[in-house]
């Protein structure tokens, strides 16, 4: 936690002045668009590009070096790549991220169970977060995700991974809140707590994004309906306060949910966005994006000889940062929002104050096991 906080001041100064170009502390590597789900809230599985090879990732990780704190490996379904764990291990060896997150639909049983076991042994000093997607209960989940039997299969793989009790692995559940399930989310949350018992439960708003080709799909819930969900999530956090670092994480998450709701309601950049500075995404073909919402390329790493800083400091990158700084766009993208909160002094003050006041309060005697112990 101290590492990103120490860099936050540099990002803040960079955003204010435009003079500095620090490397990002939070990178998402989308390793493929291929996916064995056919979600109603996502068209990414229809896309095809020439995915980076393992050797290309090695060259990139060597170039990035030890500056990364949080690495996410997304897709598509990341486990659809047989070499996913090889890629993640190479990233760990060459970049030493403190947090590694992998979202999954939970359907590729042996790749997930064997792969996470191997990763846990290899990346001993990293906190590894495996987030299983769950958008409904039973057949409703299968209907939204477009795969019959997905729920049952995912639940079984989740149970097995949780039972493995890898010491540095957090097994979580991730729900995308869309028009298709917005009224069910409180029920889903209670179901997850009772039936899954995850180490964390997180949600994200279904947005119309370029990366996922969801523009025009009308999947985003109304501000009113999403507000009901946020109230439920915030009340759940307040009812089950965690202590220590888990409590700090909860405080960040609580701040994020309210930020997401305000962004949806007010249709503006409520929190200064640090995408393209503190965080970025690398598409499967090596395009570097400020974020997956915009999916506008700063440049391509293959064309730049895998020289990350050549792309990161390009004129195109500067133009995109200026557009974000002007507030041309606004979104509640979780991954970027958590980095932005770290770099925003008022957000940090609110989170810190909430955490401290919680920490000083006597613990409830029969507190239920809290959901939401890690930021993801």
């Amino acid at each position: 936690m101290l590492r990103p906080l120490a860099k936050a001041a540099v990002y803040h100064a960079s955003r204010q002045t435009g003079a500095l170009r620090p490397r990002p502390l939070n990178l998402t590597f989308s390793v493929t668009y291929r996916c064995n789900s056919k979600c109603k809230t996502c068209n990414v599985w229809k896309k095809r590009v020439d995915d980076f090879t393992l050797d290309e990732y090695k060259r990139l990780f060597d170039n990035i070096g030890h500056t990364l704190y949080w690495a996410t490996f997304s897709g598509g379904e990341p486990f659809i790549r047989p070499d996913l764990i090889d890629i993640v291990c190479e990233c760990y060896d060459r970049c030493r991220p403190g947090i590694i997150t992998i979202p999954t639909n939970g359907m590729l049983r042996s790749r997930i169970l064997d792969g996470v076991a191997r990763l846990s042994r290899h990346a001993k000093n990293a906190k590894i977060i495996i987030n299983f997607s769950l958008d409904g209960i039973g057949e409703r989940h299968d209907e939204i995700r477009g795969v019959p039997g997905n729920y049952a299969r995912m639940r079984e793989v989740f149970r097995e991974l949780k039972a493995a009790q890898h010491p540095n692995v957090t097994v979580g559940v991730h729900t995308v809140v869309s028009q298709l399930n917005v009224h069910d989310v409180p029920t889903v949350r209670r179901h997850v707590r009772k039936e899954f018992g995850p180490d964390s439960f997180i949600t994200e708003l279904a947005e119309e994004r370029l990366e996922l080709d969801t523009i025009g799909l009308d999947i985003t819930p109304s501000p009113h309906d999403y507000g009901v969900v946020v109230d439920d999530l915030v009340n759940d956090i307040d009812r089950s306060p965690a202590s220590g670092i888990a409590g700090l994480t909860q405080a960040f998450r609580r701040e994020y949910y309210q930020l997401a709701h305000r962004t949806l309601r007010e249709q503006r950049q409520v929190l200064p966005c640090y995408a393209g500075l503190a965080s970025a995404q690398i598409a499967p073909n090596g395009d570097v994006w400020t974020c997956c919402t915009r999916a506008e390329s700063m440049g391509n790493l293959r064309e730049a000889g895998f020289d990350f800083m050549k792309v990161w400091t390009s004129g195109r990158a500067g133009e995109l940062r200026a557009s974000i700084r002007r507030g041309d766009c606004f979104c509640p993208l979780a991954n970027a929002a958590y980095s932005s909160m770290l770099c925003d002094p008022p957000s940090l003050a609110r989170v810190g104050w909430r955490w401290l006041t919680r920490a000083l309060r006597p613990a409830p005697r029969l507190a239920p096991k809290p959901l939401g112990e890690v930021v993801s």
Partner: protein, 125 residues
Amino acid sequence: MSAPTERPRNLDRLPLRIEGPHARILGAAAGEVTVLPRGAGACPALRGELARSAPEHLSLVLRVHAPNGVPLAAIAADVAAGARTFETEAVRMLAMEGYSHLAETERRAVEDRVWSRRAYATVGV
């Protein structure tokens, strides 16, 4: 900056938002661009008028956004010193590189769906 909360009725004329120092350079904080349809299968172009003549040669980057702020298309435009109007080439729809395997008609259908979400434009200098 606050963006439109509802979609404009006339999608052939989009509000143009001009922020910060660009407003000083271009002489206005807001304007309008007109969508110029091209032939079948081609993306449209944009035409705009500045509040005053360009004090020097300007290289603009125009983006067309969805109501939720996501940029959908972008295009560069040059304005000669002393000129007030500009017209772009066909806009470039963003993030279409994953659809090169599609037939032209399928690809066009995706572009049309994305373009149907246009709500406002922004400009960088």
